[in-house]
Amino acid sequence: MKILLMGNPNVGKSVFFSRLTGVRVIASNYPGTTVEFTKGYLKLGEEMAEVIDVPGTYTLEPTSKAEEVATEMLKNGDLVIDVVDATNLERNLFLTMQLLERDIPVIVALNIWDDTRHRGIHIDVKKLEQVLGVPVVPTVAVTGEGMKELVSRIHEAASPPVSHRTRDERWAAVGRIIEQVQTVTHRHHTWLERLGDASVKPFPGILIAVLVLLASFVVIRFVGEGLIVYVCDPLFENFWAPVMMRLSEFLGSGSFLNDILVGKLINGEVNFFQSFGILTTGLYIPFGIVLPYIVSFYLVLGFLEDSGYLPRIAVLLDTLMHRLGMHGYAIIPTLLGMGCNVPGILATRILESRRERFIVATLISIGVPCAALQAMIIGLVGGEGWQYVAIVYGTLFVVWVILGLILNLTVKGFSPELLIEIPPYRLPSARILASKLWMRTLGFLKEAVPIVMLGIFVITILYALNVFDYIANFAAPVVSGLLGLPSDATAALVIGFLRKDMAVGMLGALSLSANQLVVGSVVLAMFFPCIASFVVLARELKLKGMLAATGIMIVASLVVGSLLNLIL
């Protein structure tokens, strides 16, 4: 049996899904968190039922890609759990009506039930059940309240005979139901609501945004550097380095295994940046430099996501983003892209038009460095002085803006206007925050560690076979002539296709000047996307869009790299 979890955006379907199936999924407090469907299993008596977390939709007449996915899914389901936001019954019932008109059994979960009490909303559940003709169960997915009852009543799900109606008739029916089952009493505003209202006004909204942004950077840096200085570096320097020295002595310097596992000794010592062995640099890049920043970035992002602040940033930035061919909501895929480009590009599905999706995805893959790349840039370029890190970030930001302006003028069509629900501010749940952080960190390690270790193995072999020399000679006019980098850096640019963090690591082993590091970092960030982003880009933009985006990347990175080389 296939059970579909459906409902309006941001009613808590993903938390609900995790509760039902035990499968961890990313849940946040903004409409459009889920853009793909996730599957899990739920034991119903003797049977294992498949549960699908469907992207949220306001209507079965889709208006965005994510909503299209939702409507398509409905064709293959056997039963729908309609998750309804109990604090906003009227609008949510419109979708319920559409679902009831279809020939599929429905059970309704009145989620966020705990909030109805302090919002002065009273819903007569028994009556609602009677009028709708399907089971209705109040739930609080975040705490798990009501979930057992819901599961025990799934078999009662029904498909009452409802005649197809026009939209007006449907709304009229919703209106009649609301009159019968809901009473709302007046109550005072909470401080969270006052703060919510303040943040969508120019003043003090802009001030709040600047403070939130500054605080985010400070916390990310503080936590990231803290982890590096107090946890990772001591572990690597005091514990792992001696182990590696022993291993190196045991294997004998110059032996093949030593070159592969430990790498070159620099001044008779293991150097985690430059040795380039699988067990030295191969572990140090993912665990020693990148992991601390992945943890700190996703910790802060989780807070921003779950508080409900992100849609407010979208409102503040909307006018500016329109100049770049996007509307304000594009800030959400862009921010996700700062963690990893892959979920960032996927999240462009919350945008309505193909044009906008193309612009945002292209800008993400060119101008938005992922957390792994940023950690390496901070680690490596930061060692030369903070002004150089500032040049890298400043350049990428300017590129993002200028390219946005150009794309807005050249790509056909126009970008639609902003239309989003602003969720109420909520205090993030520690359980959901921790779960998200864990998933994202684990996701990074699973993806990065094998590729970095394998990559270093392959690089060592290719160096031994002088393969890179051929490529380097071939690319020398561009790499040395235009970008002013030694031809050895070509290998790093090629490896950037696998993983950008590893590629920056390779630049680090070349003893470049500070300016060359800046040029190399910028070109790596903008140049070809890493293989994982490349695959999603191809999937989301189709072949033509992907080729266009890739062409833009190559041209833009060479132009910007050459300019930087001339200026610096």
């Binding site: 906003n88 709304w171 409102v315 206007e417 902003l418 239309l419």
Partner: protein, 82 residues
């Protein structure tokens, strides 16, 4: 409660209340707004608007929705008289 003066939600002042009388747009716009609970007859409160023709935020049935300026000026309301 009586209503008088007609205007659009872009011209309402922050904190003002009114009732939607018409969405002067095509079928697509009406449908999208409707699905989010913004339709004729609904009482709304303006929560705020951004500078330079930025989005307008209104509250309908306890939910806040931000609407791009071009769409927002197609939403006609009659203001609630004091």
């Amino acid at each position: 409660m009586t209503f008088d003066r007609q205007t659009t939600i872009t011209q309402m002042r922050t904190g003002e209340k009114g009732r939607i009388i018409e969405i002067a747009g095509g079928h697509g716009l009406t449908r999208r707004l409707e699905a989010m609970g913004i339709r004729s007859g609904k009482k709304i409160t303006k929560v705020g608007s951004m500078l330079m023709r930025g989005p307008v935020t209104i509250q309908v049935d306890g939910v806040q929705v931000a609407i791009g300026f071009g769409m927002a000026r197609r939403i006609l309301v009659e203001l609630e008289s004091k």
